[in-house]
C-alpha cells in the first residue's frame, strides 16, 4: 500500500507521455500544476480561516461558526462566495492604477512563495538550487504591494498603516534571513529539496541543537511579525487605524489581502517546518529502528501538514493571547534584541560547524 502523492503523479506523467508528444505532455503538466497550486491555495485559505475562527473561539470560551454545515465547516465557503459576489466600490481620488495593482502584487508574491514549498516527497513545483534565497526574495515583494495600497488609497490611516508595515517588514526580514542562514551554514545547501533530504535521519533542529533551536525561535517570532498578525498587527491595528493599509478596499480586492494574510501564515509555518523540522520527513530517532519503521508508514504530505498546522496553532495561540506592541517597541525588539542575537547565533553556528560539534 502506498499513500504517497508521488505515485499518483507518476501514473499521470507516464499516461500523458505515452499518449502525447513530449511538448504537449509537459504543457498539460505545467498547466495542471499551476491549477493545482491555485486550487490548493484557495482551499487552504478557506481551511485556515475556519481553523482560525474555531481555535480563536476556543481560546475565548465561545463556540465559533456552527450554523452552516456540521460544526460550521461550510461557513468559510459561504464567506468566500460572498466575497466573490461583493461589489468593488470605486473610491474617489485614488491613484487608480496603483490602487488596483496593489492587491495583485501582494497575492502574486504570496503565491510564488507558496509554489516553492516542498509539500510531500517529490511534490514541489519550484526547486531552485538557491531555494532559500528565492523564498526570501520573492516573499519580500509583498511589502511593495502593501506600501502601494497604503500610498495610493489617499487615506491617512492607510498611509500610516503602510509606513508601519514597511518599517516592520523590512526590519523583521533581517532576522528571518539570518535565522535561515544559520541552517544554510549547517547544511551547506540552499536547495529546499536537498535541505529536506539531509534531514532524513535527524531534523536540523536536533542536528544543530542549541544554535538551531535559537534560530528556530527567532524565525518563529520574526516570521510571525512578517505575517502582520497580532501582537505584530500594527499595519492594520483596528483599534487605531480602523483597518490600516486596506481600509479603502472592498470586495475581491480586500479578499486578496485577506487571502494573502492567511496564506502567508501557512507559508511561514511551511518554511519553518521545511528548514527546521524536516519538512515532509517523518520523525526518525537514530538507533530506534522499529520506531522509525512505523513512522515511515505515515505518508509524507501528512507529516508536512501536521508540522505546519502545529506551527500555525502556536501562531494562533500567540495571536489570541498577547496585546499589540507599539511601533517603537516593535522596532526595539527587532533591532536591539532579535538581530544582534541572530548575528551571535550565526557565529555560534559557524564554530559548531567548523568544530563538528553537531550531530
Amino acid at each position: 500500500m502506498n499513500l504517497e502523492l508521488r505515485t499518483l503523479m507518476q501514473l499521470i506523467d507516464e499516461g500523458l507521455r505515452a499518449n502525447l508528444p513530449k511538448f504537449w505532455a509537459v504543457a498539460i503538466e505545467c498547466l495542471s500544476v499551476g491549477l493545482a497550486l491555485l486550487a490548493g491555495y484557495a482551499v487552504l485559505a478557506m481551511l485556515l480561516i475556519y481553523v482560525e475562527r474555531k481555535v480563536c473561539a476556543w481560546f475565548q470560551v465561545r463556540i465559533g461558526p456552527n450554523r452552516v454545515g456540521p460544526f460550521g465547516i461550510f461557513q468559510t465557503v459561504a464567506d468566500t462566495l460572498k466575497m466573490l459576489l461583493k461589489e468593488v466600490i470605486p473610491i474617489n481620488h485614488v491613484d487608480r492604477f496603483l490602487f488596483y495593482t496593489a492587491p495583485f502584487v501582494v497575492i502574486a508574491a504570496s503565491m510564488l512563495t507558496f509554489a516553492a514549498l516542498p509539500f510531500a516527497k517529490g511534490i514541489q513545483a519550484i526547486d531552485f538550487n538557491i531555494g532559500v534565497f528565492y523564498i526570501m526574495a520573492i516573499s519580500s515583494i509583498s511589502i511593495l504591494g502593501i506600501l502601494l495600497a497604503g500610498w495610493s488609497s489617499n487615506n491617512k490611516f492607510s498611509m500610516i498603516g503602510a509606513m508601519r508595515s514597511g518599517a516592520q517588514m523590512i526590519s523583521y526580514e533581517l532576522s528571518v534571513g539570518l535565522s535561515l542562514l544559520a541552517i544554510v551554514m549547517l547544511s551547506g545547501t540552499m536547495q529546499l529539496s536537498t535541505l529536506v533530504e539531509q534531514q532524513a535521519d535527524l531534523w536540523f533542529i536536533f542536528q544543530g541543537h542549541v544554535p538551531a533551536f535559537i534560530a528556530f525561535v527567532i524565525y518563529l517570532i520574526a516570521g510571525h511579525a512578517e505575517t502582520n498578525r497580532g501582537p505584530f498587527d500594527l499595519p492594520e491595528a483596528e483599534s487605531e487605524l480602523t483597518a490600516g493599509f486596506h481600509t479603502e478596499y472592498s470586495g475581491i480586492h480586500f479578499g486578496f489581502f485577506y487571502l494573502a494574510e492567511y496564506l502567508n501564515m501557512f507559508i511561514i509555518a511551511g518554511i519553518a517546518a521545511t528548514v527546521f523540522l524536516g519538512g515532509w520527513q517523518p520523525l526518525h530517532i537514530p538507533g530506534l529502528d522499529g520506531f522509525n519503521y512505523v513512522m515511515d508508514f505515515i505518508p509524507s504530505f501528512i507529516w508536512f501538514l501536521a508540522k505546519v498546522f502545529f506551527l500555525i496553532f502556536l501562531s494562533l495561540w500567540v495571536r489570541w493571547t498577547f496585546p499589540r506592541l507599539r511601533i517603537d517597541q516593535l522596532l526595539h525588539l527587532e533591532w536591539k534584541y532579535l538581530m544582534p542575537l541572530s548575528l551571535l547565533n550565526i557565529l555560534i553556528m559557524a564554530v559548531l560547524v567548523v568544530m563538528g560539534w553537531h550531530f
Partner: protein, 540 residues
C-alpha cells in the same frame, strides 16, 4: 471664625445665604474678585460644576466649588449677566481649567460669552445653530434649524474675546491647526472611541502634537427635555446619560428629589441601592477593563471581561427586569423588592469574581507587552486632575481623593468599611490597576452588606403629583467614572425649572490633549481606554 464670616469679611459686596449649601451671590463685576478670593485665599481648588442659568430676567452662571482637602463640602457661587442681547462674563478658566469646556457649553446653550476664555467655539452644537436652546425664550421651530443632510466642515479657526487694557473687549480669531499639519480624525466613527466621539489629532509621524476634541454627536438635549417632564418621568433619562452607571445616576436624582421633599427613606432601600450601585460599578469597571484590553489588541481579554459582566447582568435581569438600563430606583425607594434568590446569586458571584480577577491579573496585567504599553504613558499629575476635576478611578490614580462615598456618605456607605483606592503614579497603568482594585473593593462592600439587608418596606408612598419646594438642590453620588451630580432648580411646580447633570466624562476628554502630547498614536488609544469616557454622558 466660620467660613460664612470669613467670606463676608473678604467679599463685603457679596450676598451670602445658607441654602442647601452656603451660597454666595456676586454682581457681574465682582465675579473675578470673588473667584480669585475663593480660589487663592480660601483654597477652593475644585470647580465641581459650572451651570448656566436663565432666571427669566437675567442670565447667569452657578459655580459649585469645593477644596481638595474636603471635596464633599460644597460652596455655591452665583453671578448674573444682566444683558440678554449680548451677555458677557469674565472667564474663570485660568483659576479652574475645567471651566474652559463648561463655559463653551454655557455659551452654546445660553449665549453667554466669556471674556478671556481662549476658545469660544460652541460646545455640543454646530457653530451655525440658531438660538440658545436652554434659554426660556428659545424658539424650537424646526424651520430655524433644519435637518442638514450634509456634514459641515469642521473649522480650524476659533474665536476668543480678549479684554484690552482700557477695559473694552475685542474679538480675535486664532488657528487650532495650520494647513501644514497632518491631521487625522479619530472618530466620530472609530472602533476605539467607545461611541461617537471625535478627536482631531495632529500628528508628527507617529507622535501626537495636539488633540482637539469635537463633541456633541450624541447631544440629545436631555437637560432641556427634563424641564418639560415631571420628576418621576425625568428618572428615565438619567439612565441614558452614562448608561454604564445607569443605576448610580438614577440613585443621585432620586436622592436629590427625596432630600428636597424631606422624604425619609427606609434602611432596606438604602442597602438595596448601595448593593446595586456596587454591582453596577463592577459591571462598568469590567467593561472598561475589557474594552481597554481590546483597544490594546488583546481581544481575548475583552471576551473574558464580558463573560464575567454577564453574571452581573443576569442578577440585574432577575431582580430589576432590565440588564443595562435597570429602571430600578424610583422616588421613595425601588421599583420592586429584591427577588428571593438575589442574595444567593450575589454570594455565588463574589468568590467567582475574586477568582477571575486573579486570572485577569495573571494573563493581562502581568503580561510584558501590556505592562510596557501602559507604564509611564499618559502621565496625569495630581494638580492637573484637580484643576480639570478628573474624579473617579482616573483621578484617584493620580492621587486626587474625590470619592463621594467617603466624602459625602450616602446610602449605606457609612455602615461599611472600605478603602478608597488611591495611587500616585498617574499613568495609564495606574488608572488601569485602580479599576481592577476597585472591583475587589466593591466586592468587599457587597460582602459586608449582602447578609445584613434589614427588613422593611422597599418603597415609601409619595404623592401622586410630586412638586418640589422652591429652591436649588444638588446631590452627589460616586458613579463608575467619577462624581456624578444632579442639580435641580425648582419653582414649586411639578416640572423642574432647570436641571443640570454634572458630566463625569467631560473632564476625562478635557485632559486628553495635555496627557497624550508627544506620545504615540497607539498610546492615545490606550490612554482613552484607561480614562474610560462614555460619550452619552459627555454630550447629554
Amino acid at each position: 471664625m466660620d467660613l460664612q464670616e470669613k467670606i463676608a469679611s473678604l467679599l463685603p459686596s457679596a450676598t451670602i445665604e445658607q441654602a442647601q449649601y452656603l451660597t454666595i451671590s456676586v454682581a457681574k463685576n465682582d465675579l473675578r474678585k470673588a473667584a480669585e478670593t475663593l480660589r487663592h485665599q480660601l483654597g477652593f481648588d475644585i470647580l465641581w460644576s459650572l451651570t448656566g442659568m436663565d432666571w427669566g430676567t437675567a442670565l447667569g452662571v452657578v459655580y459649585h466649588l469645593a477644596s481638595s482637602a474636603k471635596p464633599g463640602e460644597i460652596v455655591v457661587l452665583k453671578t448674573q449677566a444682566e444683558d440678554r442681547e449680548n451677555p458677557m462674563l469674565h472667564t474663570v478658566c485660568d483659576l479652574w481649567a475645567t471651566a474652559e469646556l463648561n463655559e463653551r457649553e454655557v455659551y452654546a446653550m445660553f449665549g453667554i460669552r466669556f471674556i478671556n476664555n481662549p476658545d469660544m467655539r460652541k460646545l455640543l452644537l454646530n457653530e451655525n445653530w440658531v438660538g440658545f436652546p436652554l434659554r426660556k425664550d428659545y424658539n424650537a421651530d424646526p424651520e430655524l434649524n433644519p435637518l442638514n443632510l450634509h456634514s459641515d466642515e469642521v473649522s480650524d479657526l476659533r474665536p476668543k474675546l480678549v479684554e484690552q487694557a482700557d477695559g473694552t473687549v475685542k474679538e480675535e480669531w486664532d488657528e487650532i491647526f495650520t494647513n501644514k499639519e497632518y491631521i487625522v480624525n479619530i472618530g466620530p466613527q472609530h472602533p476605539a472611541t467607545h461611541g461617537v466621539l471625535h478627536f482631531r489629532v495632529s500628528l508628527d509621524g507617529e507622535a501626537i502634537k495636539k488633540v482637539d476634541p469635537h463633541l456633541g454627536y450624541i447631544h440629545r438635549g436631555i437637560e432641556r427635555m427634563c424641564e418639560s417632564l415631571t420628576y418621576p418621568q425625568m428618572l428615565h433619562l438619567t439612565d441614558r446619560l452614562d448608561y454604564l452607571s445607569a443605576h448610580m445616576n438614577r440613585h443621585a436624582i432620586c436622592m436629590c428629589v427625596e432630600n428636597a421633599l424631606q422624604l425619609e427613606i427606609p434602611e432596606r432601600v438604602k442597602y438595596i441601592r448601595t448593593l446595586m450601585d456596587e454591582l453596577t460599578r463592577i459591571a462598568s469597571h469590567l467593561l472598561a477593563w475589557s474594552c481597554m484590553c481590546m483597544d490594546m489588541g488583546g481581544l481575548t481579554a475583552f471576551i473574558y471581561g464580558m463573560r464575567d459582566r454577564e453574571k452581573i447582568l443576569s442578577i440585574f435581569d432577575d431582580t430589576c427586569g432590565g440588564r443595562l438600563i435597570t429602571n430600578y430606583n424610583i422616588i421613595g425607594g425601588v421599583m420592586a423588592d429584591i427577588k428571593p434568590g438575589f442574595q444567593k446569586q450575589v454570594k455565588e458571584f463574589i468568590p467567582y469574581m475574586r477568582k477571575m480577577l486573579k486570572e485577569h491579573n495573571a494573563i493581562y496585567t502581568g503580561n510584558v507587552i501590556a505592562k510596557n504599553r501602559m507604564t509611564g504613558i499618559g502621565h496625569m499629575s495630581r494638580e492637573l486632575s484637580i484643576n480639570q476635576v478628573v474624579s473617579g478611578p482616573s483621578g484617584r490614580a493620580s492621587g486626587f481623593s474625590s470619592d463621594m462615598r467617603k466624602h459625602r456618605p450616602y446610602g449605606a456607605y457609612d455602615k461599611v468599611k472600605f478603602n478608597e483606592i488611591m495611587r500616585t503614579e498617574g499613568d495609564t497603568f495606574a488608572r488601569y490597576s485602580a479599576r481592577l482594585e476597585e472591583i475587589s473593593a466593591s466586592l468587599d462592600i457587597i460582602e459586608q452588606l449582602i447578609d445584613n439587608i434589614p427588613e422593611g418596606q422597599s418603597l415609601v408612598k409619595t404623592k401622586a403629583v410630586i412638586r418640589l419646594p422652591e429652591g436649588e438642590y444638588m446631590e452627589w453620588v460616586e458613579a463608575a467614572r467619577g462624581a456624578f451630580g444632579v442639580y435641580i432648580c425648582s419653582k414649586g411646580e411639578k416640572t423642574p425649572y432647570r436641571v443640570k447633570f454634572r458630566s463625569t466624562g467631560m473632564p476625562l476628554v478635557a485632559v486628553v490633549d495635555e496627557i497624550s502630547r508627544d506620545e504615540k498614536i497607539a498610546d492615545l488609544i490606550a490612554i482613552g481606554g484607561s480614562l474610560d469616557y462614555v460619550v452619552p454622558d459627555i454630550d447629554r
